[in-house]
Amino acid sequence: MKKLHTLLFSASLMMGAAAHAQLRVEIAGVGSNQIPVAVAGFADESVAPEQVSAIIRADLERSGVFKVIDARQTISDSASPDLGAFKSAGADALVVGSVQRMPDGRLQIRYKLHDTVKKTQLSQLSDAVSARNTRLEGHRIADDIYEKLTGVRGIFATRIAYVKENRAGRDYQLVVADADGEGEQVAAHGKEPIISPAWSPDGTKVAYVSFEMRKPVIYVQNLVTGQRTVVANEKGSNSAPSWSPDGTRLALALSKTGNTQIYVVNADGSGLRRVSNSNGIDTEPQFSADGQSIYFTSDRSGGPQVYKMSAGGGQATRVTFNGSYNISPRVSSDGKTLAWISQRDGGYSLYAMDLASGQEQRLADSASEPSFSPNGKYIMYATKGGGRVALAVVSVDGRVKQRLSTQAGNIREPSWGPFMK
């Protein structure tokens, strides 16, 4: 009974949070080995524009890694809670905290993470933030909890970019939002399509392809200053930008010689040089995490397949062999997993492959444009359903699925941003 109550309560919390969201998050197929965490209300958190504890609960729930238990009381970080009681209630950890308005108007947000089993403190944070950054601070605390309890860096404070389009109204927007779909901000807006956004590794810029010149041209936009530069406007089509891990170069697909081939260019557009060499299509380049290799799509064997070559060019080796249509390669930050789209039995599905063993796993159907979370644990992708395109997230083990839906228009071409300092 108590369990049911907890479930209902956290579900209603989720819905409460969702009511404000531009993107609505729905979760399915939560994993089985969840870590039970009790989250208490933060002392005096009503002085903040949003409930910090609710943001943390929603983040932890959404990850699928935690079973969130509502502490049903407010506990300040300065209190000495009865950890044994929380252990008896099934919680392995307890989150407490407080919010305090400072004389300069900023909010002092403090939190502590307790281990109820060992009866020790695992972590704490204390940050002064402006009121509008309350949500971000909640995400940072959730990231800290995730990291201390799983050993993996959290991604709740990261951002995503995607394209919102209304073709009938000829309205195209490049949008940046928090990883949970909250806090949408339009970075670019126009009457022509935008595709293939790609975050710079430092999270300050986005490269993308815009059709505003009646052909695809690659731009890099500084999100902070709004300044925009043309990185490639060669004769023919310019597309598929992706950043080198150090942010100094971009790999691109250009058709300047007649067939689409892969090039590398400095981030300011200088020093363009060709790296792939085939008579067919070579496109969708992606640097490996160490910057030494480029994964790409090529139809040199007939249909499109994923290949890998040195970042400097030269001999390419084929990576995908099952199925006749394998596109959109993406590599996880640890270099161990390849995610891509494969057409099997008529549909387009998201697959992941362990690169060491070659073992494949089908993660989602009706999928396109995958993008890894910076910790490599989740993949965001665009999915078609009910005539509309929306975004979805799946964990790399396939256990947790979320769908980010919206009221109007298509949302596609997601790109998950990097960790921010």
Partner: protein
């Protein structure tokens, strides 16, 4: 006397010829009077027999909605980049116009249906645009007059799904700049 008469005839014939050669080219855009304020005073009374000519303009073959150049789309079979027989007249008509009008430039925009990946479709659309570009080059259009580009699946002519929709979107469009 007879000589003088024939000289005068030749002179007037030459005048007519020169008048002809100074008539505006068909493709010239009509000149708009810029500053009426600085115009010369009205002509004196003894020139009232002069005629002030009015240009009625003409339709550029390119802008004639009933002309052969009005059709600017070349369609392709599924998974194909070969210009079909029904697309050849479109390619030929525009090639002939461009070969005669060297100052005109075109974009050839390749398109695909929406099945498959965004970027791979962009590359496939490029192959269709390239097929049209190569056909036009073979018919004498200069490389500098044309650029083959792709819109991939981003600008479908027909929306929805099914073979009739997909067929409509498997095409290359000739866009004058």
């Amino acid at each position: 006397m007879r000589n003088i008469k024939s000289v005068a005839l030749i002179a007037s014939f030459a005048a007519v010829l020169s008048a002809c050669s100074s008539s505006p080219k068909l493709t010239e855009t009509p000149v708009v009077e810029q500053s009426p304020v600085t115009q010369a005073a009205p002509p004196p009374a003894d020139t009232t027999r002069d005629i002030r000519r009015v240009e009625t303009g003409n339709v550029d073959a390119l802008n004639d909605p009933k002309g052969v150049l009005a059709n600017r789309s070349v369609y392709f079979d599924f998974d194909s980049y070969v210009v079909r027989d029904d697309g050849k007249p479109v390619v030929e008509n525009h090639s002939a116009y461009l070969a005669k009008n060297k100052q005109r430039h075109i974009l050839i925009q390749g398109n695909t249906d929406d099945r498959g990946g965004t970027e791979y479709n962009l590359a496939l659309g490029q192959k269709r645009a390239e097929a049209v570009r190569k056909s036009m080059a073979a018919l004498g259009v200069a490389d500098g007059q044309m650029e083959a580009v792709s819109l991939g699946e981003e600008k479908p002519k027909a929306t929805g799904s099914g073979e009739s929709v997909w067929a409509e979107n498997r095409r290359a469009d000739i866009v004058y700049q």
